[in-house]
């Protein structure tokens, strides 16, 4: 963590404590400013940060352009949908018999299952495309995302209703902590904490864990192998890196973030449908990573926050503005959002391809070959 390195230990601790205090207080501030809606937006932003961090492993660290990342989110969400709702017991007699009182699995089980299923999906995606060049690889990942969506949409027929098709799955149970389901308000003294507040803290913890995991991966042997692969795969192979396994690891690990975020999405909303897992969503997440700063964790978080807040910002400013100037809503906000999204992608690639907040580069280009210091006498090999 580059910016933390610049502070001394005492400043670092104070800095972290301040950050923690701010983050703890944030939902209250948001609620005061905009009610429950704004807290909800922050909750979604946290989920998107997790997604962006996961995609960053694939795109930012390993340099593999994945255009269908939303598939892993879908896998996690449907894992929750199937294991935490009455859907399977309602539709499959065998399961109804096995669980006469309903499944009611704990999320301590569902989250790892969602993550595992997503990782398996990641490996399934990665395996056939290991040898493909960048743009072909991207297209196959796009296809993968679409195929998952098509399957989710079509596996809802009578007789074998796995996903309930376009109708989606309802009644997904909430996460419960210490016996208290998070979708029921919690009273602390006089203060009532709604579901949005409670989930905020849960998501915040998950995001903090995600960030820690990402930093640890970045500064690990595998992380360096990913970056070597990204920079020059032939040189990486020449250094002995098994590029095939490293790519699969990127897909699998990146996917787990999507899977966890997906289960949380299911638990939070209580309802999921294939609509939420479209190609557009994959591109939104990709834009978060590209816009923020590919491969740079703080940048990616920034990108996720900006793009989650964008539609709300538009709704807040552009809508009343249009009313004022034109007397009516000429341009629907969602269309504007898509327009801006597209513009972002084009402009960033042309003018600032490393993103808004890229990793800082050390060293200036040396004009002359400065004389190197005299070579030391250490042996080259042990």
């Amino acid at each position: 963590m580059s910016f933390l390195n610049k502070l001394n230990p005492r400043q670092s601790v104070i800095g972290i404590l301040i950050c923690i205090a701010l983050m703890a207080v944030l939902p209250f501030v948001a609620h005061a400013l905009g009610g429950t809606t704004w807290v909800r937006i922050i909750d979604m932003a946290l989920l998107y940060i997790m997604l962006a961090l996961g995609l960053n492993i694939v795109v930012g660290f390993a340099g593999l352009l994945d255009l269908g990342y939303i598939a892993f989110y879908a896998v996690g969400a449907y894992a929750a949908g199937m294991l935490a709702s009455g859907h399977l017991t309602d539709n499959f007699a065998m399961i109804q018999q096995a669980f006469p009182d309903g499944m009611h699995f704990s999320y301590w089980l569902i989250i790892p299952v969602g993550a595992l299923l997503a990782a398996i999906a990641g490996i399934m995606l990665g395996t056939p495309i290991l040898k493909l060049r960048g743009d072909y690889l991207a297209l196959v990942t796009l296809g993968f995302g679409e195929i998952i969506r098509i399957f989710m949409n079509n596996l809802g027929k009578d007789g074998f209703n796995l996903t309930n098709g376009p109708r989606g799955i309802n009644g997904i149970e909430s996460v419960s902590l210490a016996g208290h389901p998070l979708n029921r308000p919690l009273m602390i003294g006089d203060i009532q904490l709604n579901k949005e507040f409670l989930y905020y803290y849960l998501f915040l913890i998950l995001v903090i864990l995600s960030v820690i995991v990402c930093y640890r991966l970045q500064d690990s042997r595998l992380g360096r192998a990913w970056m070597a692969l990204r920079e020059d795969d032939i040189a990486a192979k020449a250094m002995g890196i098994n590029v095939r396994n490293v790519k699969l690891a990127a897909f699998a690990l990146g996917a787990t973030f999507g899977g966890v975020a997906g289960t949380m999405f299911g638990a939070f909303q209580g309802f999921i449908s294939p609509e939420s897992f479209s190609f557009m969503e994959s591109i939104v997440i990709l834009t978060m990573v590209v816009l923020g700063g590919m491969g740079h964790i703080p940048g990616v978080i920034l990108g996720a926050i900006l793009l989650t807040l964008l539609p709300e910002f538009l709704r807040f400013t552009v809508e009343p503005l249009q009313q004022m100037v034109f007397g009516q809503l000429l341009i629907d906000t969602s269309i504007l959002r898509q327009l801006i999204l597209g513009l972002c992608m084009v402009l960033i690639m042309i003018f600032r391809p490393r993103g808004l907040w890229p990793r800082s580069e050390g060293g200036k280009k040396k004009v002359d070959d400065d004389s190197s210091q005299p070579a030391a006498t250490a042996t080259p090999s042990n």
Partner: protein, 257 residues
Amino acid sequence: MSNETTMLSVKGVSKSFGGLKALSDVGIEVKKNTVYGLIGPNGAGKTTFFNVITGLYEPDSGEFLLEGKPYKPTAVHEVARAGIARTFQNIRLFGQMTAVENVMVGRHIRTKGGVLGSILGLKSVREEEKAIRERSMELLDYVGISRYHDYIARNLSYGHQRRLEIARALATEPKLLALDEPAAGMNATEKVELTKLLRKIGEDGVTILIIEHDVKLVMGLCDELTVLDYGKILAQGLPEEVRRNPKVIEAYLGGSH
């Protein structure tokens, strides 16, 4: 037995690309702890031969022995593990990574820190990381660029990039260091420094196989040479012998070139 003193034994390598025969029955014997040079005019097949040895190309025929044991590079990533590390004619560094990170990648195959251990922050993995970084800094120091350890690799000057590539290759603890035109683009002073570095590496127990155009550098550095021309061996042996070989003189100075 010659097997103990020979690091790399290559026999009968041929390679065609479509109709073009790039290599015809090429073989070399590189003895341990020597510097072996591969020279020849442009297009003679030197880099092709390198690529065959290091697994980038599959030869149409050829037998290889590394330290007396059969060596068959089927996948590029097995080559480094077997003990051959290389640099590239066009410098292939990991451009956006820092100098020290580049070298740390070289330590990949000699370390084993796993994913789970890294995520959990296990003590053993953290200690291995520390060791990797220390060793990498040592290697940067060895080649003389430790001052630039946190510079992004592509921001380094050309000469420093070449040194970095060598440091990265050394990080894999190679038995054989294969260098593809390490002196290309260097001025006279840089070449002298490079020769010193290569001699030091050789003295410290690494066998070196080097492709070079600079005949003077090669004659001063190498213990044995092979001259390639049009994919065939033109001459092989000690530098003085090769230099006086009339076929070699003709190939370099006149005749068909």
